[in-house]
């Protein structure tokens, strides 16, 4: 019912090949794709380990697969939802911050020496 040793050895060879691939690809200039490749390969490796060494591929492991996926999914939630904050924090101020207002102001206030005029007079026509 479980994997034969030959399968396990084949999996091990595949793992080592993937390792070589990710180590080598890291030295290529792929920009952001470097990370995509590395992490993709890592995911593939982890999948192999989970399916064959940890026997999630064999029948009767449905519940265990659910447990594993739930854990991964929860971790992904932590990263993704915190990520929405970090990814949009800068966006959030700039467009609503009315940069145009800032420009209107600096245009109106002119040179830096001219500080004695309070801000009030800009708003009162």
């Amino acid at each position: 019912m479980h994997e034969k040793p030959a399968t396990l050895v084949k999996v091990w060879i595949a793992l080592l090949a993937l390792l070589a691939l990710s180590a080598a690809s890291a030295w290529l200039r792929l920009g952001a794709w470097n990370s995509v490749a590395n992490l993709g390969i890592a995911a593939l490796k982890a999948l192999l380990v989970a399916l064959f060494f940890m026997r999630l591929a064999t029948g009767g492991a449905l519940l265990l697969r659910v447990v594993a996926l739930t854990a991964l999914f929860t971790l992904a939630l932590l990263l993704a939802l915190s990520g929405t904050d970090y990814a949009t924090r800068e966006l959030f101020r700039a467009p609503w911050d009315q940069p145009s207002a800032a420009q209107v102001q600096s245009a109106a206030s002119g040179a830096t020496g001219r500080t004695r005029s309070g801000p009030g007079d800009q708003n009162e026509p």
Binding site: S82, T88, R89, F92
Partner: protein
């Protein structure tokens, strides 16, 4: 098995042996539950003592009872003890431990030794925390916000973190044990949709315990590391972000509030059908709602950070999700109410507590919606409105359910009846004392009274006084059960196996149950809550 009610049963779990050692080394889930019961009650009164001092101090606007630092340490101690040492373990560890195996017809939990280990870990964490409090305490609030906790306070942060950290592992192990137990130890015929909702509730709670608590553990380690080594993850001067801590903390602590309320919902779902003599309305929806709360609960933590400097877009996402998590709660409230329809309702003490739960949870939950509404939270956050919100759910809701559960299952646990009259009196006192304590706090919050304030502007005093006087009433209400439960252990009427004529396997065995729970393997042939109207066939 009903004949032997009045004869002493040599084999029941309480009388199996009497030495202290036999208790401290027992792997019987029922005995471990009692170990928890005793320790958790003690911690409740520690937390309650802190609350008493807080309310005394707040009776006047000047800080005339304790100093600033002492006050800050008091509410921190109150929050830490109440949340981690009392409320989170309360229903799961005491009643869950006692009842889960009985309810599914098993002999014990899947890992009995692990269960005992959980208690020891819990005690270790509790003692470390108490030591830290005795050594001078900590003044960061139960939320440990950085950089106050990492760089500025000079109190015993790390020791308290360690205490909470250790306690966390106890929660994790309990959750793990419950999940495996429910999956693998159900009696023949006990399909998933025949499980009592209390089991479902503890199952859903366990999922949260298992997935969220480790995050808290590592987060606390990071705070400790930051304090010792100043690594800079939370320090903007070194490129870190103070809000990163808040994300991590609330990733745990929001799901944790559902750890605190789901078991209470489970209790209420047992009590109401029993005293309405009716099958619970919408069993499947109730079960799914529990799972839905547990899972959507993981998506909403950012609603604690609406004005923290978090991105406004993230705020909008979290707000929407917070409204979604309220839907399954709504389903539950409606279904409990509908269960009463065409019932044969009696009002024993457990039922009074259960109805109290429904009402107060609803009020607390509805005000949660105010807080989830972005624009409203801007004003209401960090005011007493929030304090009132969570006390309504945690004290009005869960503590009520906890007390209701203790009353309901006391005959099973102790083999004795509690004095019914006193039970009802206490329930009523607690209900009114509670509302007097915490309702004024909603108004205070709307008027802008910030929380964690030692001194406050005098115009808030009237409402604070009302609140403090309510707390006195509440204290009486909580001391009463302590007294009459102790009394009933020795002088209470002996309990039959099934004094409430309830369904559920736990009532099929004797009171108190034998060490091995059941003399013969129960085989389940009916759905849960097969209540029939009085006169139309007896239960046992």
């Amino acid at each position: 098995m009903s004949a032997s009610t009045d004869t002493l049963q040599a084999s029941d779990y309480l009388r199996a042996s009497y030495t202290l050692r036999s208790w401290l080394t027992s792997t019987d889930h029922k005995r471990i539950a009692l170990l928890y019961l005793v320790s958790i009650t003690a911690f409740f009164f520690v937390g309650g003592a802190a609350a008493t001092l807080i309310r005394l101090e707040l009776a006047t606007p000047q800080g005339d009872l304790v100093s600033h630092d002492t006050y800050n340490k008091l509410f921190t101690a109150h929050g830490v003890v109440m949340v981690w040492l009392f409320l989170i373990p309360s229903i799961p560890s005491v009643l869950g431990n006692f009842l889960m195996p009985l309810m599914i017809g098993a002999r014990d939990l899947a890992f009995p030794r692990l269960n005992l280990a959980s208690w020891y870990i819990y005690m270790a964490g509790g003692i470390v925390t108490l030591c830290a409090l005795a050594a001078g305490g900590v003044d960061t609030g139960w939320t440990f916000y950085t950089p106050l906790s990492t760089m500025f306070t000079r109190t015993h942060v790390v020791l308290v973190l360690l205490g909470v950290f250790i306690t966390g592992f106890s929660s994790i192990l309990t959750g793990l044990n419950f999940i495996v137990t429910v999956h693998t130890m159900r009696a023949p015929g006990m399909g998933w949709f025949r499980l009592p909702l209390f089991v479902w509730a503890n199952y859903a709670t366990s999922i949260i315990l298992v997935l969220a608590t480790p995050v808290l553990a590592m987060t606390l380690l990071l705070v400790a590391a930051e304090r010792f080594l100043h690594v800079g993850i939370f320090d903007p001067a070194l490129g870190g972000d103070p809000l990163l801590f808040q994300h991590l903390f609330w990733f745990y602590s929001h799901p944790a509030v559902y750890i605190m309320v789901l078991p209470g919902m489970g209790v209420v779902s047992e009590i109401i059908p029993c005293f309405a003599r009716k099958r619970i309305f919408g069993y499947r929806f109730m079960a799914y709602a529990l799972l839905a709360i547990a899972s959507i609960g993981f998506l909403v933590w950012g609603h604690h950070m609406f004005v923290s400097g978090q991105s406004a877009y993230a705020g909008m996402v979290f707000s929407l999700l917070s409204f979604l998590v309220a839907i399954p709660s709504a389903i539950k409230v409606f279904n409990w109410s509908a269960t009463l329809y065409r019932g044969w309702i009696t009002f024993s003490a457990p039922m009074l507590y259960a109805l109290g739960f429904v009402g107060l949870f609803t009020v607390g939950g509805l005000t949660g919606l105010f807080l989830a509404s972005l624009a409203l939270d801007v004003h209401l956050t960090d005011t007493y409105f929030v304090v009132a919100h969570f006390h309504y759910i945690m004290v009005g809701g869960t503590v009520m359910a906890y007390l209701g559960a203790i009353h309901f299952w006391w005959p099973k646990i102790s083999g004795r009846m509690y004095p019914e009259m006193w039970g009802r009196v206490a329930a009523v006192i607690i209900f009114f004392g509670f509302n007097l304590t915490f309702f004024p706090q909603y108004i205070l919050g709307y008027e802008g009274m910030p929380r964690r304030y030692h001194t406050y502007p005098p115009e808030f005093q009237v409402l604070h006084l009302l609140s403090s006087s309510g707390a006195a009433l509440l204290a009486v209400g909580y001391l009463l059960p302590l007294g009459y439960f102790a009394w009933s252990m020795y002088y209470g009427k002996r309990a039959e196996p099934n004094p409430w004529r309830a369904t559920g396997l736990e009532w099929q065995t004797s009171s108190p149950p034998p060490v091995h729970n059941f003399d013969r393997t129960p085989v389940v042939t009916q759905d849960a809550y097969a209540y029939r109207p009085p006169g139309q066939g007896e239960q046992v």
